[in-house]
C-alpha cells in the first residue's frame, strides 16, 4: 500500500503506508518546493496539512504530536504548541498568525492506494 497526496493536478505517491508510524508524522516535499505534513492516527486515518508552522515560520508541523480535543482530531505544533483541527486545518487556540493572516493550515486530499493493483 502506498500513500498518495493530490497536489491539485494529480495524485502523487509519496511513501508507503508502512513508512507512517501511527501517531506521528512525516514531511513531504512537493515538486513546487512546498511542504506537506502527513500523519496517520491510531485508527489508520490519514491527514495531510501544510508543514509550515504559521506562528514560527519554520517547516516543523510534521514533527508535532497528534491527539484529540473533544471529538476533533488535532495536531499540536512542536514549536509553540498551538493546536490545529486536522479536519479543517483551523487553529483552535488563535485566529490569526503573527503576520495577521488567518491561522488556517491548507489541507491536501490524501489516500492509501494499492499501487500495484493500479499499475
Amino acid at each position: 500500500m502506498t500513500v498518495q497526496i493530490h497536489d491539485g493536478t494529480r495524485w502523487q505517491t509519496v511513501c508507503s503506508l508502512a513508512d507512517l508510524q501511527p501517531g506521528r508524522g512525516v514531511a513531504v516535499l512537493l515538486p513546487d518546493a512546498g511542504q506537506v505534513a502527513l500523519f496517520r492516527d491510531r485508527a489508520g486515518e490519514l491527514y495531510a496539512v501544510d508543514n509550515l508552522d504559521p506562528f514560527s515560520g519554520a517547516p516543523v508541523l510534521s514533527r508535532g504530536l497528534i491527539g484529540s480535543r473533544g471529538e476533533r482530531p488535532t495536531l499540536i505544533s512542536p514549536m509553540y504548541k498551538q493546536v490545529y483541527d486536522l479536519t479543517d486545518g483551523r487553529c483552535l487556540d488563535e485566529d490569526t498568525a503573527p503576520d495577521g493572516t488567518p491561522a488556517v493550515l491548507r489541507r491536501w486530499p490524501v489516500r492509501a492506494f494499492d499501487g500495484e493493483a493500479a499499475a
Partner: protein, 862 residues
C-alpha cells in the same frame, strides 16, 4: 502632621527587627513614600532577621537563612540603614534623634520599633557567666559556644519562647530542664489538659519539666560560673548553663525619657493609627501598647501595626489597629500546638467539647458559646483543623456542624460535611485577609490559583499556616464560577501525573493505548502523551523510541535533540561534571566545523552545536559516539548537567573533590525521566563556585563531608535551595539524593520543578527529610530499588538509535526525498559562524557548504 516646605521629608525608623522590616516594606509600597528619605537606626550588627526561628541555628540552619531583608531592598529604595548605632535620645522639640555614636538625625516623622527585652527575674546571680537570654543571633552564638562544653542546661520559662529555647538546647546536645512558674506549660495559650498533653510529649523527648516552680537564685561555683539553679520550692537543679526566657518587656525607655506616655506594664501608648501622643512619633510592635491596652508579643499583630503605621504616615485611609487575634499555631520541640480565639472559655456560659488521647498525645478542645458559636480552642499533637477552626472562632458565628465532629479523629467523626466559614472570617491573620477578600480576588480580579491570590491579596505570604484553607477557598470559588478545577492532567485523563504514575507503578508497564482505554478517553494530546512517556521511562520501560512510546514523545525527545526556532536542531554532547579532555574539545570542534554548525558554551558547562538538520543528526552522533561521547540531554524532562568546580584537586580553597563527585552523579542520573528538567551542581567548598544552591539538588563540600541542598531554582522564579542534610558521607549522600529524586518523580505534578514541589509538599522540608532519611513512609527500599533499576537499565539513547535502522528512518528531511536539504531552513553568516536567516534575508541551506567538505562520505548512511 505639620510639615515645612522642604521637598524631601525625613522618616526615621528606630529598630530594624521583624516589625521594623515589615514597616519598611509596607512604607515603600506607598506611593507617598517617594517624597521621603528613610533612615533606620539599628542596634544589632545585622539587618532584620527572623527571630521566631532562631532555634533553626541549632539545627543546621544558617544566619543567612534567617535574613528577612532581601538583597538590594535597601539600595532600591534608598534606605539608609545604620547598623550598630542605636538611638539613645529623642528631642521632640527639635525633632532630632541622637544615636550612641553621637550623631544627630533630623526627623519629620519618627517610628519606634524597638521591640522588647527578655525579662530576667530579679534574683541573685543572673549576671554570672553561664547565664543567657534568648533573643538575638548573638545570644544564640553565646549559648552555642558554651553548649559545646556544657552537659546540662536549664531554661527558665515554659511559655512559647522558653520551649523554643529548650528546643535549641536539646538540639545542642544538652540534658535540658524547663522551669515554669505556672502550673502548666504555655499557660497563656493552652489549658490544663493541653498543657498536660504537651508536657507528656516534651518529656518523651527527654526534656525534664518542672512546673509551679520559679527561679529563686543562680548558684555559682568558686570560679564565679553557673553551677546550678535554686528553685522557689527549695530544690536545686545542677546546671552548666541557664537561659532566661520567661517573657519580655516592652523597650520603651526612649519614649519615657522624652515624656511620651507609657502603659502601666510598659509599652508606648498609641492610638488606633499607631500614633503616640506626639503626632510626629509613631510606635509599632512589641514596644507599643495598642489602643486596646495590650502589648502584643506576637509577630502577626506587629506586622499589622507596621502596615497601619505606613498608611498613617502616607495619610491613607484604611483600617486602624484596634487589637489582634492571638491565635497561634506552631511546632515546639517537634510538637504541634495551636491555640485560637478564647482558649480558656472565659466567656459566660461557655462550654467545652473535648477529645483527649494520651496514648497518641493528641488533645483537642473547643470552647462553644451559649449560642452555639465556636469561641476558641486548643489543639495539641495534631493541628490539622486549625485552618478552618481559627477563622470560625474569630468570626464568632454559630457552627454548621456538631462540635464533637470537629474534635473527633477522622474515622469517628462520621459524615461531618463541609464546615462553612462566613465571608468576614479572617483567613490570613498575618495580613488580615478575610475569606470574602480571597473570594473577591478569584471572582473579580481574575486570580485563578493560590499563587495568584497570594500575589493579589498577600494572603498566605506570612507564616503560611492558612495556605491549605486558602487552596480550599480558591477551588470552591473557581468551581462556583464554573471554572473546571479538576486536578486531572488534561481532558483525556482525570488523573494527576502522580496518580497516573501510581497506576503504572502498581499495575505494571502498559502502553499509552492501554492506559487511555482503561483510564482515559480520546486520542491524547501534547500534555498527556509526553507525561505518560515520561512516566513509562521513569519506571524503566525500555528505549524511549520503542514501539508506541516513540509516538508519545515531544518533538525533542522524538528526535533526541533540541528544536531551534527555524526548525533546525542543536546537539549538546554530555560533558559530565564539565570535565573534558583536549582531545574531546578537538573532536567537538571538528564535528561543528565539518557540519558548519554554530557553537556556543552553555551555562551547564557544555558546548552546544546549533543548526543541524534532522538528517544530519545521526552523522553527528556517530562521530560523537566513536569519540566516546554521548549526545546528552539538553532537552526533555530529565537530568541536564551536574555542574562542578575543580575542587580540592586544584583549587587552593577546595576541601573535597567536587569534580569526581559531579561526574559520578551525572553518570548515575543521566537519562532519568522526571516531571520536569533536573539541574544539579557540586561545589568543593563554601565559596560555592558551582552555584549549587540554585539547583534542584546541590552539594557543597564541608570539612566533614557533603551538605545536600534541594529545591533550588534559577530561571524565572529563582529559589534558594534548602539544606536537607549536613555533613553526609559519600554513600549516605548518594542514597539520599536517590530517594529525593525518586520521591519527587513519584509525587510531583507535570512540569512541576522541585522548587515548586517542595513548596507544595505537605509538611515541607521536614516531611521530605523524614521520608528520605528516616523512611517515615516505609517506601525507601522501593525508591532505592527504582533508582537501582534506572541506573542498571541506562542505555546511550543515541548509540542505540544509530544501531537500529528502524529508529534511524525518522531522521530524514522528507519521506519522499531523503537527503534533500530542507529548502525552508536557511542560514546567514555572522561573526564567523552561521545563524538562522530572518525573513527576506539572502541565505543558504546548511548542507551546501557541508557537502563541499565531504562530511557525508565518511559515515554510515541511514
Amino acid at each position: 502632621m505639620t510639615l515645612d516646605d522642604r521637598t524631601v521629608r525625613d522618616l526615621v525608623l528606630v529598630g530594624h527587627g521583624m516589625v521594623g522590616q515589615r514597616f519598611l516594606e509596607a512604607w515603600t509600597e506607598q506611593p507617598a513614600a517617594r517624597g521621603w528619605r528613610v533612615t533606620v537606626l539599628a542596634e544589632e550588627p545585622r539587618p532584620a532577621y527572623d527571630r521566631v526561628h532562631l532555634s533553626s541555628l541549632f539545627d543546621g540552619g544558617t544566619v543567612e537563612d534567617l535574613a528577612l531583608c532581601p538583597t538590594g531592598f535597601l539600595a532600591e529604595h534608598g534606605i539608609d540603614l545604620r547598623l550598630g548605632d542605636p538611638a539613645t535620645a529623642i528631642d521632640r522639640a527639635g525633632r532630632t534623634v541622637t544615636t550612641r555614636s553621637g550623631v544627630e538625625v533630623r526627623y519629620d516623622v519618627l517610628v519606634l520599633a524597638t521591640g522588647s527585652v527578655p525579662f530576667v527575674p530579679p534574683v541573685p546571680g543572673t549576671d554570672a557567666p553561664g547565664c543567657h537570654v534568648y533573643r538575638t543571633i548573638e545570644d544564640v552564638d553565646a549559648i552555642r559556644a558554651e553548649a559545646a562544653t556544657a552537659g546540662t542546661g536549664v531554661v527558665v520559662g515554659g511559655g512559647l519562647l522558653g520551649l523554643e529555647a529548650a528546643g535549641a538546647l536539646r538540639a545542642g546536645g544538652l540534658a535540658t530542664h524547663v522551669v515554669e512558674f505556672a502550673p502548666r506549660l504555655m499557660a497563656v495559650q493552652v489549658d490544663d489538659g493541653g498543657g498536660a498533653a504537651l508536657r507528656r510529649k516534651i518529656e518523651d523527648l527527654g526534656v525534664t519539666v518542672h512546673t509551679s516552680a520559679g527561679a529563686s537564685g543562680v548558684l555559682t561555683g568558686p570560679d564565679g560560673r553557673v553551677r546550678g539553679l535554686a528553685l522557689s520550692d527549695g530544690r536545686e537543679l545542677p546546671a552548666d548553663l541557664v537561659v532566661f526566657s520567661a517573657g519580655v518587656r516592652a523597650r520603651d525607655q526612649l519614649a519615657r525619657d522624652c515624656g511620651l506616655p507609657v502603659g502601666q506594664r510598659g509599652g508606648v501608648v498609641v492610638d488606633d493609627r499607631c500614633r503616640t501622643e506626639d503626632p510626629a512619633i509613631l510606635a509599632i510592635g512589641e514596644c507599643a501598647q495598642a489602643v486596646d491596652g495590650r502589648v502584643y508579643g506576637l509577630v502577626a499583630p506587629g506586622y499589622l501595626m507596621a502596615e497601619t503605621a505606613a498608611r498613617t504616615i502616607a495619610e491613607q485611609e484604611g483600617e486602624g489597629f484596634t487589637g489582634a487575634d492571638l491565635s497561634t499555631k506552631l511546632k515546639l520541640l517537634g510538637v504541634d500546638v495551636a491555640s485560637f480565639g478564647d482558649p480558656h472559655g472565659s466567656a459566660e456560659g461557655a462550654l467545652d467539647v473535648l477529645y483527649s488521647d494520651s496514648r497518641s498525645g493528641v488533645y483537642r478542645k473547643l470552647v462553644i458559646g451559649s449560642d452555639g458559636a465556636l469561641l476558641g480552642g486548643v489543639l495539641v499533637g495534631d493541628t490539622e483543623g486549625y485552618g478552618v477552626l481559627r477563622p470560625l472562632a474569630v468570626a464568632g458565628k454559630p457552627l454548621t456542624v456538631a462540635p464533637e465532629q470537629l474534635v473527633l479523629p477522622a474515622g469517628f467523626a462520621g459524615a461531618a460535611g463541609p464546615v462553612a466559614l462566613p465571608d468576614d472570617a479572617v483567613l490570613c491573620s498575618c495580613h488580615n485577609v478575610t475569606q470574602g477578600a480571597v473570594r473577591a480576588a478569584v471572582r473579580d480580579q481574575g486570580a485563578d490559583s493560590v499563587a495568584a491570590v497570594k500575589k493579589c491579596t498577600r494572603a498566605g505570604t506570612g507564616c503560611g499556616s492558612c495556605l491549605k484553607q486558602l487552596g480550599t477557598v480558591v477551588t470552591e470559588e473557581l468551581e462556583a464560577a464554573g471554572v473546571s478545577t479538576g486536578k486531572g492532567l488534561c481532558e483525556h485523563f482525570a488523573h494527576t501525573r502522580a496518580e497516573l504514575y501510581e497506576i503504572v507503578r502498581v499495575t505494571g508497564p502498559a502502553s499509552f493505548s492501554e492506559l487511555l482505554a482503561e483510564h482515559g478517553s480520546g486520542e491524547g494530546c501534547e500534555i498527556c502523551k509526553p507525561t505518560v512517556a515520561s512516566i513509562l521511562a521513569s519506571l524503566g520501560n525500555g528505549h524511549i523510541l520503542d514501539g508506541e512510546q516513540g509516538a508519545l514523545q515531544d518533538s525533542n525527545d522524538h528526535f533526541l535533540a533540541n528544536l531551534q526556532r527555524n526548525g533546525s536542531y542543536s546537539v549538546v554532547p554530555r560533558v559530565p561534571g564539565g570535565e573534558i579532555t583536549p582531545e574531546g574539545l578537538i573532536v567537538i570542534g571538528e564535528i561543528a566545523r565539518d557540519h558548519g554548525l554554530y557553537t556556543k558554551i552553555t551555562g551547564g558547562q557544555r558546548i552546544d552545536m546549533f543548526g543541524a538538520t534532522v538528517d544530519q543528526l545521526p552523522f553527528i552522533w556517530r562521530k560523537l559516539v566513536d569519540a566516546g561521547f554521548e549526545s546528552g540531554h539538553a532537552y526533555g524532562k530529565s537530568l541536564r548537567t551536574v555542574k562542578s568546580c575543580v575542587g580540592e584537586t586544584w583549587c587552593r580553597y577546595g576541601v573535597q573533590d567536587s569534580t569526581t563527585l559531579a561526574i559520578e552523579l551525572e553518570l548515575r542520573y543521566r537519562g532519568l525521566r522526571s516531571p520536569h528538567k533536573l539541574k544539579a551542581a557540586v561545589s568543593g567548598c563554601a565559596r560555592e563556585c558551582a552555584e549549587a544552591q540554585s539547583k534542584d539538588f546541590g552539594i557543597i563540600a564541608t570539612a566533614a563531608g557533603w551538605n545536600l541542598y534541594v529545591g533550588g531554582n534559577g530561571g524565572m522564579t529563582p529559589r534558594h535551595a534548602d539544606l536537607l542534610a549536613a555533613d553526609l558521607d559519600r554513600e549516605t549522600l548518594i542514597r539520599t539524593i536517590d530517594r529525593y529524586l525518586m520521591f519527587y518523580i513519584r509525587t510531583a505534578d507535570r512540569l512541576e520543578r522541585t522548587s515548586v514541589w517542595l513548596e507544595r509538599l505537605e509538611g515541607g522540608l521536614d516531611h521530605l527529610r523524614a521520608v528520605v532519611l528516616d523512611d517515615s513512609l516505609g517506601i525507601a527500599a522501593e525508591l532505592d530499588e527504582l533508582m537501582a533499576r534506572h541506573i542498571g537499565g541506562y542505555r546511550d539513547e543515541w548509540a542505540e538509535t544509530l544501531a537500529d535502522p528502524e529508529r534511524l528512518r525518522r531522521f530524514s528531511s522528507f519521506v519522499n526525498a531523503p537527503g534533500t536539504p530542507d529548502p525552508a531552513v536557511t542560514f546567514v553568516p555572522e561573526r564567523g559562524q552561521i545563524r538562522p536567516a530572518r525573513p527576506g534575508e539572502a541565505s543558504h541551506t546548511l548542507n551546501a557548504p557541508v557537502l563541499v567538505a565531504g562530511a557525508r562520505l565518511e559515515v554510515l548512511t541511514p
